[in-house]
């Protein structure tokens, strides 16, 4: 390939430091992508261990292991770690690795900021997790941090808020980098509507991040001043309004759900065509649907708050606007279906995860539509039905999207094929047990079990036991994932440049493993045209 020769002439790039200093000082998009992904993996297991503790306590009625206050800390920190530490950094890692290679750019536009935005994260999460060892324990108000409850927290409050500020700063820097890269560094001929869908979904996600992370930062700062500086933003006794916080939080929080799912849509839109050996159906409709979902995400936030006592007009507006989201989401699902229709489908691990995504994310979509109906939501709100819903869209949704992406691009990253048999074991165990874990939670919610309780009445015992068993099995199955990756990094059959028969896109025009510096010379028009056969 032309660019490997090119790299040789620029040998000075190869004198990068070795060992730990290489990783601390790196400005290379691939190194930083790896750092993000490894960090996300560690956080996935940290947050997962907390989930295991939660499911152990909920295995049967009565309190066996955890004090209720510590249980509340577990649900809170589990959510913060999974949302901000596992899912979001994983997608930033994928963006770092793939966006420059997919648009024919040599690196991200702002490499030093890229390094900084990653290296903030370990400090942020060290702070957050250290709060578990403070007197009074970690925040125990749920990840939604509703006042006045959150203000009853002890020393952990300022540390947790500072950690959230750091995570927000990191996300905003990452998002700026993505936008600047996509807007300025596309190879000549790579027009916007020729970009791979993964790049499109990330571009839209990055705008969402820039729009809402500052709102979260503002809201938690107001908590801080309420607690320490005598303000009364959320204190009714001082003329403030506790519900104001919920509006601010969910103005961030609803777009945040799409921040976690849109890049997964992008990944699925890459994988389904590859293994159906057929271009993506309705490419432009996919782009517009993604943009519509992003726009709608700004005007539906109060559907998280139907029970706070909004006026009828408010409830009506948020119910109807929320229902609208199912239209562009439906368009996406139908387009994926039609992509597989009349294809030539094979079932390698990335495709298996993508197929599970299509089925299980759609189930999460159904329960989402049910939750949109305000009168019925009064029954669902704050029950296990909601827990089941958002875990369906986040675990077999966002997390399976990440796993599919890793199994899809791992040969490109490492230059080796991985152990297909083990990866399929990982897939089948995950897919079976994720359902054993979360499907019964629909029943628990409908039967009347509230969420965020450490102990429950005996009528909820049976399905909780099933859910816990599913949880333990799902958790154990995940140990296969790092093992498969580790084995693949260490060695394995040589991966072809185009590792999958039906793969299109500029990344597959590069050698496997991708050279440390790729596309230092822009790809030719012919290569771009070949890659743009979406």
């Amino acid at each position: 390939m032309a660019n490997t020769e090119h790299a040789a002439t620029h040998g000075h790039h190869e004198h990068a430091p070795r060992g730990i200093w290489r990783w601390l000082s790196t400005t290379n998009h691939k190194d930083i992508g790896t750092l993000y992904l490894v960090f996300s993996g560690i956080m996935f297991f940290v947050g997962g261990s907390m989930a295991m503790l939660i499911r152990a306590e909920l295995f049967k009625p009565g309190l066996q292991f955890l004090d209720p206050a510590f249980f509340n800390s577990m649900t809170t920190v589990h959510a913060l770690v999974m949302v901000f530490g596992a899912v979001m950094p994983a997608f930033v890692g994928l963006a770092n690795w793939m966006i420059p290679m997919q648009i024919g750019a040599p690196d991200m536009a702002l490499p030093r900021m890229n390094n900084f935005s990653f290296w903030i994260l370990p400090f942020a999460f060290t702070l957050l997790i250290l709060t578990l060892f403070l007197p009074g324990g970690a925040p125990a108000s749920g990840w939604t941090l509703y006042p006045p409850l959150v203000l009853q927290g002890g020393d952990s409050l300022p540390l947790a808020i500072f950690a959230i500020h750091l995570m927000g700063a990191s996300s905003i820097m990452g998002a700026i980098n993505v936008i600047v890269t996509i807007m300025n560094m596309r190879a000549p001929g790579m027009t916007l509507l020729r970009m791979p869908i993964f790049v499109w979904t990330w571009l839209i996600t990055a705008y969402l991040l820039i729009a809402v992370m500052p709102v979260l930062a503002g809201a938690v700062t107001m908590l801080l001043t309420d607690h320490f500086f005598g303000t009364s933003f959320f204190n009714a006794a001082g003329g403030g309004d506790p519900v104001l916080f919920q509006h601010l939080f969910w103005f961030f929080g609803h777009p945040e759900v799409y921040i976690m799912i849109l890049p997964a849509f992008g990944v699925i839109s890459e994988i389904v065509p590859t293994f159906s050996r057929k271009p993506l159906f309705g490419y432009e409709a996919m782009v517009y649907a993604t943009a519509s979902i992003a726009f709608l995400s700004f005007i539906v936030w109060a559907h998280h708050m139907f029970t706070v006592g909004m006026p009828l007009a408010g409830e009506m507006f948020f119910m109807l606007s929320t229902m609208l989201i199912s239209i562009p989401t439906g368009v996406k699902v139908f387009n994926w279906c039609t992509t597989m229709w009349k294809g030539s489908i094979s079932f390698e691990p990335p495709m298996l995860f993508a197929i599970a995504f299509l089925f299980l994310f759609t189930i999460g979509g159904f329960s989402g539509l049910m939750l949109a109906m305000a009168p019925a939501d009064f029954q669902y709100q704050d029950t296990y039905f909601v827990v089941a819903h958002f875990h369906y869209v986040l675990v077999p949704g966002a997390v399976f999207g990440i796993m599919a992406a890793v199994y899809y691009w791992l040969p490109k990253w490492t230059g080796h094929m991985y152990d297909m048999t083990l990866a399929k074991w990982h897939f089948w165990l995950s897919t079976i047990f994720v359902n054993v874990l979360f499907f019964p939670q629909h029943f628990l919610g409908l039967a009347g079990m509230p969420r965020r309780i450490p102990d429950y009445s005996t009528q909820f015992a049976d399905w909780n036991m099933v859910s816990s068993l599913g949880g333990f099995a799902f958790g154990l199955s995940q140990l296969l994932f790092p093992y498969v990756i580790w084995k693949c990094v260490r060695g394995g059959a040589k991966a072809a440049d185009r590792a999958w028969e039906g793969a299109h896109g500029l990344e597959w025009e590069l050698p496997s493993p991708a050279p440390y510096h790729s596309w230092e010379e822009a790809p030719s028009a012919a290569i771009i045209a070949r890659g743009a056969e979406h």
């Binding site: 309190l63 009714a236 506790p242 519900v243 009506m316 229709w341 489908i345 009064f378 709100q381």
Partner: protein, 286 residues
Amino acid sequence: MTHRHVPVLTTTLAAVLGGAAPAAHAAWTLNMTPGITEISRRVYSIHMLMFWWSVAIAVFVFGWMIWSLVRYRKSAGAVPDTKLVHNTKAEVIWTVIPVVILVSMAIPAARTLIDMEDASGTELTIRITGYQWKWQYEYVKDGVSYFSTLDRDSDATRALQSGLDPFKVDHYLLNVDHPLVVPADTKVRLLISAQDVIHSWWVPALAIKKDAIPGYINEAWFKIDADKTGLYRGQCAELCGRDHGFMPIVVDVRSKADFAAWLKAQHAAAVPTATAAVASVATPAG
């Protein structure tokens, strides 16, 4: 878990068919209760409408996907049709049909929502205040007021490693010392607030879940069917701190006459404290 004799499959079928109204202790419960008010039954029917639409769409979408995965698998020699990348007619159809389905869902939901918010013409007003971790009930016009907390048996059993068996406690974690007593066949208004943090007053059989927020007074109402006297249970539904899981709600629905007699007795008991100008906390006999 003494109810294991019923085969799971039968329970599943019964509940999926939508006819199951699970008793308080039914194990393997799958579905919501239709409740004891006209509104709660309408909510239940919206829930079932949404459920059946979901099933119908799932049969269509999943059927389509499974068909494609089987019919067009490479191992069966499928040849891809790489020209199939766009079809305006299909895309218009699968945008318009969901819109029609959504409208058909929105109409009953909007009607029910409007009726739920219509608290006019109520005959009795009860003020509910949430505290960490108990409820206060005040019959506004009658000077009757009392607190409702988790019953002693549950409270002893729920201690960490208490060694007591929850299955031997009557309605473990769903029993209180003093239930909220209300009349059937009466439109009752609830004014819901809180003193410390946000709570949420939820009784599934009434289809009422309303947040109790410091500084706010939220309104809700119910009218229970005349023949639905008895005990109905719920829980706090908004995380409110350490003992959030331990502040249940029990509603004791009585006939109009029984309720009037009960209220009169409570009022008589409360009067001496009221004349002494002390905020009264009467202990109801019920």
